[in-house]
């Protein structure tokens, strides 16, 4: 028996209760995150990937609520925490960095003020120690002239710099888990690579586990130990990065991979996934992707596919796999 996973999410359901009705953003996802590993969560906008992360942090908006399931941190169900426990938990055990560094820092406080606050909340260091730690963190994330930066306001820094500050703030208390919610989406490509490299580097140094949320499979390909592909708040497919890339077993994943631009194949047209994301107010009975799927069968419309183990490192929730397995079995007996 291996060590207990640092984070276990079991059958998580999160809904937003709006005037239009209940928006089911996350519909029963489960995953385990082992200490020091990198988990990638991939999906298009509205697939529930960010909401599942916000559920773990308990930073949903007023209308959002976890309706079912368990989130176990080191075996403790954090959904049972009260406000005080939760505040002490956020930032010290799990931290998060957000998509848009331009708006994620408070414009009316200095970088130093915000960074020191993150440290002060979770430790009982004195002023000098806090200041020293803040400087150390800025150096660690590769911010030049850290003393000067501490006195500056967010608007005086570039986007890449601000994201580095966000990372410094998130890691200041050495959390066990870092959630990165599309950390590079708002940055330009050269900066994207730098930030990803920095995160990999820091992970090696500090040994935290990372949940990497993105809509861009290409971004996380060589970084993740495991990848989860989400659609309409459910897991379609999960497996090692290699399995997901070279042996995708869900039509949605295949679509995602087809829509990554490749430099090697010059004249190939990109293939978008046809149709629009499903309406989360009225989820279909069967597979949510069925209406956009080329290989949809009758059963896809009627029943939601269970997660089926394709091989040791790979699980997919697609009826096509069941069909394929059945045919293989038939073929096997016939031969």
């Amino acid at each position: 028996m291996s060590e207990m996973p640092i984070l276990q999410v079991k059958n998580l359901h999160t809904s937003f209760f709006t005037d239009a009705g209940e928006v089911r953003a996350v519909n029963g996802i489960s995953y385990n995150l082992d200490r020091g590993k990198v988990l990638g969560i991939v999906g298009e906008s509205g697939s529930g990937k960010s909401v599942s992360a916000y559920s773990v942090m308990q930073i949903l908006t007023d209308t959002g609520r976890v309706t079912e399931g368990e989130i176990l941190f080191n075996g403790d169900n954090i959904l049972k925490y009260d406000d005080k426990q939760m505040a002490a938990f956020r930032g010290s055990k799990i931290s998060i960095i957000f998509q848009d560094p331009m708006t994620s820092l408070n414009p009316v406080f200095t970088i130093g003020n915000q960074l020191r606050e993150a440290i002060r909340i979770h430790t009982d260091r004195n002023k000098e120690e806090i200041q020293a730690r803040a400087l150390e963190m800025l150096q660690l994330v590769g911010v030049n002239e850290p003393e000067k930066r501490l006195k500056q306001y967010p608007h005086e820094l570039s986007g890449g710099m601000r994201q580095r500050v966000m990372i410094a703030m998130a890691l200041a208390c050495e959390p066990d888990i870092l959630i990165a919610d599309e950390p590079t989406t708002a940055l330009d490509v050269t900066i994207q690579a730098q930030i990803l490299e920095l995160m990999q580097d820091l992970q090696k140094k500090m040994g935290m586990a990372i949940i990497m949320i993105t809509h861009d499979l290409g971004v996380i390909a060589d970084m993740c130990d495991e990848i989860i592909v989400m659609y309409a708040g459910k897991v379609c497919e999960r497996g090692t990065a290699d399995e997901i890339f070279y042996n995708p077993r869900h039509e949605y994943t295949k679509g995602l991979i087809r829509s990554i631009p490749r430099l090697s194949e010059k004249h190939e047209k990109l293939v978008p996934i046809a149709g629009t994301p499903v309406d989360l107010l009225n989820l279909p009975k069967g597979c949510a992707f069925a209406s956009r799927c080329d290989r949809a069968m009758k059963i896809c419309l009627r029943e939601h596919p269970e997660e089926i183990r394709v091989n040791e490192n790979h699980i997919a929730a697609c009826w096509a796999n069941v069909l394929q397995m059945y045919e293989e079995e038939q073929g096997g007996t016939n031969a």
Partner: protein, 357 residues
Amino acid sequence: MTESDAKKRKMIVLMLLALVLAVMGWIFLPIKSEKILCTVVLALSCGAVFFSNDTGRYVCKRILLALLTILIIAAITFFAMNAIPGGPFSKEKAPSAAVQAVLEERFHLNEPIGTQFRLYLEGLMQGNFGVSTKTGREIATTIFSSFAISAKLGGYAALCAVILGLILGSIAALNRGKLADRIIIFFTTLFVAVPSFIMATLLLLVFCLQLNWFPIFSTDNPSYVLPVIALMLSPMSYITRLTKTSMLDVLGQDYIRTARAKGVKQWKVIFKHALKNALIPVITYVGPMTAYILTGSMVVESVFTTGGLGTKFVQGISNRDYPMIMGTTIFLATLMVTMTLISDLVYKAVDPRIDFN
């Protein structure tokens, strides 16, 4: 970069011009107070050009502009008053020609209008607003004694309006859609909609005359409660609504989520991270509002007969008391300009993104 450089150069040229003018004024103008004024302008222009600190430069520039504004306001008021048919002594029953001549002599009304204006400005620089054509009293004395009353009333009212407005606005924002929010929004809408003279009369009628809770305002026994309430209700309601809107906007911002994710406690998220941002639009309103309340809402003061500056202003107008009207107008303008400057500086202190260049 080049654009801001060009702007800077233009600024420096303008300020040098002001400097030259000030030096010339200092040399050629005969009167002592004018020399003092010139020295002040000189110092300010030097400051505006050579201060290394942005805020210092900005303040110098703004005070120079304020002086110019006040001069222009004085000129407009002066010439507008003179353009009105009739004079301060035109009455139904005209005084005899001899009396008229003596009066005109005394108030320099027989001089050409340019000279009159020059004489008035000279007086102004020495803090002399002239003498009332109605009562013969010094205008400056009247203004300052009545402003003392208005300032006290207005000070309380402005303070209450800001504090209560911020609290109620935050409560409404945090309880959006709930009962507390609805009650607050109902009453604030009501207080914004009901004109202050009706509110003042109503308060006077109910709490003074019917219930006898408060005495009627008199100089021997000043009871500030009702006039303060009448003065503050409308601005308080406005601030409440402003705070609510901006608070709701701020609470939806990404950096609030960041603060929560850091583990900042809920009340600190609201009072540190949200409130300082939510204050920004409120401050722009509070500056001019304070000037307006401080100088005394004329209507409310009349209803309560407080004898404040507002009352004097209205009396001045109905008495055709030219020096009184001039004096109060210039005084109010100065106050307004000062308050706006202060609120701009506070604005800068709260929002570091404001760049005075």
